[in-house]
Symmetry: C2
Subunit: 332 residues, 2 copies
């Protein structure tokens, strides 16, 4: 925070724009959350509708909590990408139909008359954890969000590593096997093909289709499309052999990916997000053990491997944090 | 460079301490090299001898070129590690017998009365390339030195990424296969097991021992211990089938490692060092093609993949550059 900028207005709005839901927080510059909500994105209605709706919901959040839009100093938005976070333009997003070169920053600024920053959702999520979550005490943080893919966020010396055209952190597309599973990115053996939530489900589906017997089939009542990572985890708790095999493979690959990250960055903490962290010790105990075995002692001992603590709100909180602390980057 | 510091003394000495040879340069603050030399480390004589000898050679380099030790403003030293670059203490080094917790910075400062900084050799090598070599135009640079192992150096926004206890950049110990070749670090499938100069030689030795016929055997007159990456390259030039197979595998893994680095950092340039870059187009043309195939277009197009340009002098030049530009970090 430079001296020049004065916070005449107390609040920030943080928004996490997802393919399914939008999360929104009203937060002050000290990180106190005054209000929050989430609502369906209704992505199928296209970018103009989605943006108009977000602005309506934003005004509504402010008003229903007894504040005025004039109390809002800045808006931060996390969005799927690829995007240009400097200009606030979303080039496209797999889960947001019709989003092609959408000037998200400009549109929101125009409609609200509030300076706005846009960054990618994985960056926002890890920045949220740094500001108010599991990364609070740290300045060198790697974030991994295990979901459909694996989102990565990198914070070194307290600042996001963005890359030369804002595409750094694609840790999910680090190959762990040049002859491995073909990824939709055209690469082979991508980390997210083995250690994302989807990967767990996909591997289970495939093995069961190949004829493997498992309690998983009963849990989903024969409808293999209903298999999720959570279902595999339920199988694990029920001591199912296939579930154990899949879980161990998942941990092996996750540990390998984390090991690589530790050797590259020598960070203070790796923060793991996504529903799968609800597995708690069943995940983190074997994971840490597997990482320890294959990592330089001096590097392993310096690094914690911990679950994220903000759950779905991380991205919205981080979007607000980024516009607050890295406003210079966005020119706001 | 802060305003407080004035360069009363014109010169810097940069030193690259290797297991076999020491390289030394006398350079001014603008990067003009006035003198340089290299001499055997004589590592077997232990740390005290090696350090005393370096100081003698340093004084000799200064004097024989018509300067005085009083003209030297700072000394920078690149050393194998692990080491504490903040304190200038070398914890140990595989190729430097007897080096255990050697206070290299303190010893050199005491003997010369010149402020000294110590950093790891891979960091110095890439910093040299940034200051005066292939990385001159760039601020976001990943360096890979293919030698016995693979040394890595990472420069983001013009600054070295050092890690929380100065062990970042161990890119050679990024696994490319959790079930791959066991590395001496105890991990499996480490990058350097497939794409270092030693890996090329080792894979050739193993395949020939397994009975594969190759011109390589003739080149080394049957003495398989004499196989080096250069010999494999000679086999490639002679159109030898085994050499081609090994070379293609090497490029496949090198491309995978670079692809990972590109997705993680989205850098401007990857600079590759080591004797193997003498293969020129036979290396870089297929390498770039293989990286391109498996990398996000927006990331690939932003990044150059180029050979280093300073050869053996990179580390010494970079050591001088680091003490000049990042002196604050070392407290000098």
């Amino acid at each position: 925070m430079t001296k020049k900028k004065k916070y005449f207005k107390k609040f920030l709005i943080g928004i996490d724009l997802g393919g399914t839901n939008v999360y929104m927080v009203l937060v002050d510059t000290k990180g106190k959350i005054y209000a929050e909500k989430h609502f369906p994105t209704l992505a199928e209605k296209g970018p103009d509708f989605v943006i108009d709706n977000i602005i309506l919901e934003l005004k509504n959040l402010v008003n229903t909590n007894g504040y005025s839009i004039k109390d809002i100093w800045r808006i931060g938005i996390g969005s799927p990408g690829p995007l240009d976070s400097k200009k606030g333009i979303v080039y496209g997003a797999v889960n947001l139909p019709g989003w092609k070169y959408v000037k998200l920053k400009e549109k929101v600024q125009k409609a609200t008359e509030i300076k706005t920053a846009v960054d990618n959702d994985a960056n926002c999520a890890i920045y949220g954890e740094k500001w108010l979550g599991a990364g609070k005490k740290y300045n060198n943080i790697i974030g991994l969000t295990l979901g459909t893919g694996i989102g990565g966020g990198i914070i070194i010396n307290g600042k996001l590593i963005r890359g030369i055209n804002y595409n750094a952190g694609e840790i999910g597309h680090m190959s762990l096997n040049p002859d491995g599973i073909l990824c939709k990115c055209k690469g082979k053996g991508c980390f997210e093909q083995y250690a994302s939530a989807s990967a767990i489900a996909n591997i289970a589906k495939e093995k069961i289709r190949q004829g493997k017997k498992s309690i998983i089939t009963e849990i989903v009542k024969g409808d293999l499309n209903k298999i999720t990572s959570k279902v595999v985890y339920e199988g694990l708790l029920a001591n199912d052999e296939l579930a154990k095999e899949i879980w161990n493979e998942f941990i092996k690959y996750l540990a390998t990916g984390i090991r690589n990250i530790l050797h590259i960055f020598n960070p203070e903490v790796v923060i793991i997000a996504g529903g799968v962290i609800n597995a708690g010790e069943k995940l983190f105990v074997p994971l840490r053990e597997a990482v320890k075995k294959q990592t330089f002692e001096i590097i392993y001992n310096a690094a914690k491997i911990v679950p994220a603590s903000l759950s779905e709100r991380a991205g919205a909180i981080g979007a607000a944090g980024l516009v607050l602390f890295e406003g210079d980057f966005y020119g706001v």
